[in-house]
């Protein structure tokens, strides 16, 4: 894993659940509970994509939800990163090639980090968010470079 070089601010995460069975969502909640307590590292779950740096997506994404997910992604400020949590969002999982599924998620919005598992362990989710953090730092430096 790369080294975090820029701790200018904490990372805020928005969680979008698209047709998930709730298993991944429960593991995301576990990440926030006292055993892992990622808020102490500045990783905070927020209620609006307008405030978020990272989009955490779970589920195989039903067709009706695809537009909403695209809109949620577009509402996030730059720089931003997308983390897919679970097998369903990563590859379609057991819903692969299903008629009512618009996913996998990378066919709807660009994905930066995949956290496979059914469901993935909380440690894996934390690792995924940290990887997204590195990506955001890189994007931020690129944005700053463009400004200069």
């Amino acid at each position: 894993m790369g080294k975090l070089t820029n701790f200018k601010r904490s990372i805020w995460v928005f969680h979008a659940s698209g047709g998930s069975c709730n298993a991944c969502d429960i593991e995301i909640v576990a990440v926030l509970t006292p055993r892992y307590d990622v808020e102490r590292f500045g990783i905070k779950l927020v209620g609006s994509p307008r405030h978020a740096d990272v989009l955490l997506v779970t589920g195989a994404i039903p067709r009706d939800f695809a537009d909403k997910l695209r809109r949620v992604y577009e509402q996030m400020p730059d720089p931003k990163a997308v983390v897919v949590v679970g097998n369903c969002g990563t590859s379609g999982g057991v819903f692969y090639d299903s008629y009512n599924i618009a996913g996998p998620i990378d066919e709807i919005i660009p994905v930066d980090v995949y956290v496979p598992g059914c469901p993935p362990r909380p440690e894996a989710i934390i690792d995924g968010v940290v990887k997204a953090w590195l990506k955001i730092e890189k994007l931020e430096k690129e944005l700053e470079g463009k400004k200069e």
Partner: protein, 117 residues
């Protein structure tokens, strides 16, 4: 009396000077600009980034989701729909209608008081 003193209004409870007030306004404007300049400049105007978040749903017309003052009384008006439907039909906004009602009700009261004589 200097020109600065001539601009100052003094009273037993204090003083008021427009130049001092202007200086405060400038200071607050500068503080405001500093806060504004530290905001995120990478946002893209005219895109979804500047629109309100409503669970990913498209919002074409803000008027459709705006909560009006009349919405506060929606429950009461809905519960008493039968009563308010009649009242709202009568409430035309035309002063001539109101005068007609005034005269009509006044005539009825007079008729009752005088006893039909």
């Amino acid at each position: 009396m200097s020109w600065l003193e001539s601009l100052t209004l003094t009273s037993p409870s204090g003083f008021w000077n427009p130049l001092l007030w202007l200086a405060f306004l400038i200071i607050f404007a500068v503080i405001g600009y500093i806060i504004y300049s530290r905001g995120n400049r990478s946002y893209k105007p005219g895109t979804e980034q500047v629109k309100p978040f409503i669970s990913g749903n498209a919002v074409d017309d803000v008027e459709l989701i705006r909560v009006r003052a009349s919405d506060i009384y929606w429950g009461l008006i809905e519960a008493m729909k039968g009563y308010y439907a009649v009242l709202m039909r009568m409430h035309t906004g035309d002063v001539r209608d109101y005068i007609l009602w005034y005269l009509g009700v006044g005539a009825i009261i007079l008729f009752i008081l005088v006893g039909g004589v």
